[in-house]
Symmetry: C2
Subunit: 236 residues, 2 copies
DNA sequence: AGAGATTTCATTGTCGACAATCTGAAACAC
DNA sequence: GTGTTTCAGATTGTCGACAATGAAATCTCT
């Protein structure tokens, strides 16, 4: 039996969730300045718990705070995006190395379930935000299965950033959610017996994702993107 | 010319630094409960900035907060330690892959400088806390050189945890600081041309560190430590 | 005396008000 | 006209007091 953690009672946590959803869903434009007074009055709470929630979101990278200057929704430069992808690749490779021998029938069934959810939502076509969520949830499988709490925490920290960026990207180019066949291969590799193949596919998958999103970026002056620099296993 | 970032003016940041030093230096026993009222009165500040500072330390793992229950200094289980080491190994390997081709004369001089500082402090014998600090600063070299901001952030987040644990460990067993020759090899590898050798050494170095510290742990019931599960390159 | 209900008290979570700081524009000197 | 200074307005940072919660101590009933 699996029971979800009961909702945190404290307002701070509610605010964190609420604000995170607000940002990640793209309801506020990236770079937008947020004023605490407005937020607190709109949410019907005092500034004290709001400010604590803000601290949490700042340290997870969704907000940027400049003392006495203001609070801003995070913006993504091409360089930020590349860093996000490279770190993610490294972490996910680590997750697979750790969870590889722990894959039992229950775990694989779990993987299938997540995959089915994703496919269903993608095929339905509406609710692309949900598709993004499920896409990332699919990737969460390896982290959770690994049993590595610290690794999972690290993933949970960059997870909203990816979700946020995907939403931005999708809105900007009104594209459909993630492609189906890419995940077919991913899942197949994850079910297979060849860890090396999984890691290689992972790196390709990530590199493709990076290129796919990066080539559509309008900022073209930043020389941050160098597609090389293997992040998991390539050192030869 | 290198100018250090000018000190944050806000009290919150001062409190963060002050509290972090307090914890990391071992002045407060691990597992100890901290009461906000005491802290705020002792530090001569109100609870508002204190609580915001606490949020920051909680999200970096140095404090544990249970809503309405209390605030506690983080404790390390053998499992926590293993997770810290494995994640650190992965991140540091990534740092070296990223900085490898960026090592120029200035960077190597920087590395030497850090190494000399460490050796001097270790040989002087007093101030073991400073030795720990410099030990970790030596490792920071690769992260900073890599130019990978997100990676550096991740390192900065686990950095205090390591410092904290080393302090605890050193106090408990009144041992001298880090061994000298271990870092001779580390620096030599970092200066060399063989990235593979560096990564292999890194893994050995970390595994030894883990075993060295873990075998002295008194908690022996936790089966968390399984020395296997290579974290960087071993998948053969 | 012992188990359960109740009260008490310390501590955390939240609020509204005040002080410190930044931004921008208007006033001023050259 | 240009550059500097001053001053208002708005916003963030900080404070002290109050409400909500948890845990220990006290009380009650068998």
């Amino acid at each position: 039996m699996k029971l979800s953690p009961l909702g945190e009672a404290t307002r701070r946590d509610q605010i964190v969730r609420s604000l995170r959803d607000l940002i990640v869903s793209g309801a506020v434009p990236a770079g937008e300045r947020l004023t605490e007074t407005d937020l607190s009055s709109q949410m019907g709470v005092s500034r004290a718990p709001l400010r604590e929630a803000i601290r949490e979101l700042v340290s997870s990278g969704l907000l940027v705070s400049q003392p006495y200057r203001g609070l801003f929704v995070r913006e993504f430069s091409p360089r930020d995006l590349e860093e996000l992808y490279s770190l993610r690749t490294t972490l996910e490779a680590m997750a697979f190395r750790h969870c590889w021998d722990l894959r039992d029938d229950a775990a694989l069934a779990d993987l299938d379930r997540r995959h089915c959810d994703l496919v269903r939502t993608v095929e339905r076509g509406d609710d692309p935000a949900r598709a993004i969520e499920l896409e990332l949830a699919l990737h969460s499988w390896a982290y959770e299965l690994s049993g590595h709490r610290l690794l999972n925490e690290a993933w949970q920290r960059i997870h909203p950033n990816l979700q946020f960026y995907f939403t931005l990207h999708q809105r900007a180019h009104s594209r459909p959610g993630p492609r189906r066949d890419a995940h077919e291969v991913y899942v197949a590799r994850a079910r297979g017996q060849d860890l090396r193949a999984m890691l290689d596919h992972l790196e390709d998958h990530m590199r493709q994702g990076l290129l796919h999103t990066a080539q559509l970026l309008t900022h073209d002056a930043d020389p941050g993107i160098r597609p090389g620099t293997g992040t998991t296993t390539d050192i030869r």
